[in-house]
Amino acid sequence: MQHVKRLDLVVGSRVATRFLEALDTLGLPHRTVIPGVHGYGQHGPRGSDPFATFDNTYLLVAVPPDRVDEVVAALQPLLQEVGGMCLVSDARWV
């Protein structure tokens, strides 16, 4: 079991691709994506209208620990611009 950093991102479904493309660019294409996620943050409620036009997407990405700073640096401006949440925590990869 090796150490990894786990990123839990919750971002608008519409802009999720931009986050994923940023990860692709870093050569980190592996990820898990949960669509249809609701939420409430600085931009108010999301996903609870029956039109679900603006719901969230949950992204879970496990990356090698030595690359996490690079990843955070790449995602921060995006979070700045379009909102969303990003949590970083420790895990072990089986």
């Binding site: 600085q42 108010g44 029956p50 036009t53 719901d55 700045q80």
Partner: protein, 352 residues
């Protein structure tokens, strides 16, 4: 008018809206799964777009079509301007701009309910009303964003905004004294370019336009093939969707903390003003009863889909708990129950 109103209250689709309201009020566990609700909303747009396109394809661009659409666009500019002038004296300028946009734009579900109501009473409106629906959706948004930019400029750049430009927001709102207390200004507003992209590439919008074009292009053969889908099961699926709308309104009403008497008054008064404007202009332009009544419905309706979706990012200073709640929890039911029969009766009295 009395008969018409009773008529609307025996329409199964409208009745299911009330079922939803009641079921929501007793806090039942009933829930329409989100993917299904979304499918139904896309279905409704597809069906009305297609039917509008079919009608347009048959009649072509008539004189009446041009007049209806022209009045629609005028209303889409006049109503938000009027709304803002009324609101800015009483409430925060950002909220005023957002609410003005809400009432300047239109509600597709109200449009659908209106069409059903009028068609059932022999006053079917023309297919070009769907074009009006499309064109009346966005101008108010753009106007509101400009108003907000102006308001923002007047306020100077606040320190808070400056700070926020540097860091992403904290995990929870800074004040611990309840939700409504602080209304922190979030991340900086979107660029005008991004706003226009959001407004014009919105999925609901494009499905409506696309279906309109497909309906117009596919002729009577296409119409026959699609009829069981866009006509046959329409009332049933609309009923299902309005059940969900009822649940949603019930939920929204429970959370309506930020809407006081003044705003409730506005949420009922503004539709009446909008409808009156539409009826006046439309009567002068010599519209038919169905066209006139549905134009009034459009003018009276407030958007609770596209506008809140865009405004949330374009005017982050405004509170969705105001503009969204007003449009969904007050104006929408008002129009469904009282407004539509009222505007129809007025249209009959004026040009019937």
């Amino acid at each position: 008018m009395d008969l018409s109103m009773v008529g609307n209250l025996t329409d199964p689709a409208i009745l299911f809206f009330f079922v939803g309201l009641l079921v929501g009020a007793v806090r039942s566990n009933l829930e329409i799964p989100a993917p299904v609700a979304k499918f139904l909303s896309l279905y409704l747009l597809m069906a009305i777009g297609f039917k509008g396109g079919q009608a347009l394809g048959q009649t072509g661009v008539t004189d009446a079509a041009v007049r209806v659409v022209a009045i629609g666009v005028v209303l889409a500019l006049a109503i938000p301007a009027l709304g803002f002038v009324v609101l800015r004296r009483r409430i925060d300028h950002f909220d005023a701009a957002a609410i003005a946009a809400t009432y300047g734009s239109v509600s597709a579900v109200t449009f659908i309910a209106g069409t059903q109501f009028l068609t059932a009473r022999g006053d079917a409106p023309g297919g070009y009303l769907t074009v009006a629906l499309v064109l009346m959706e966005s101008p108010a948004i753009i106007m509101a964003v400009l108003l907000a930019t102006w308001a923002r400029a007047r306020r100077h750049v606040t320190e808070q905004a400056t700070v926020l430009a540097g860091v992403h927001g904290p995990p929870q709102p800074p004040t611990a004294s309840g939700v409504t207390a602080g209304h922190p200004v979030p991340t900086p507003p979107m660029s005008m370019r991004a706003i226009l992209h959001e407004a014009f590439t919105d999925g609901a919008h494009l499905v409506l336009i696309g279906s309109l074009v497909v309906g117009a292009a596919s002729g009577p053969t296409g119409g026959r093939a699609m009829a069981p889908f866009v006509d046959g099961v329409f009332t049933g699926l609309l009923a299902f969707f309005l059940l969900e709308m009822g649940l949603l309104v019930a939920r929204q009403l429970r959370e309506a903390r930020d809407v006081g008497p003044f705003l409730v008054g506005f949420a009922i008064g503004m539709p009446l003003v909008g409808a009156t404007l539409a009826l006046a202009l439309g009567t002068v332009a010599g519209l038919s009863v169905g066209d006139l009544a549905l134009l009034a419905v459009l003018a009276a309706s407030g958007s609770y889909i596209v506008v809140p979706a865009v405004v949330r990012y374009a005017i982050p200073e405004a509170r969705p708990s105001r503009y969204f709640t007003m449009a969904l929890a007050v104006t929408f039911p008002f129009n469904i129950v009282i407004g539509i029969p009222l505007y129809h009766a007025a249209a009959r009295a004026l040009v019937g």
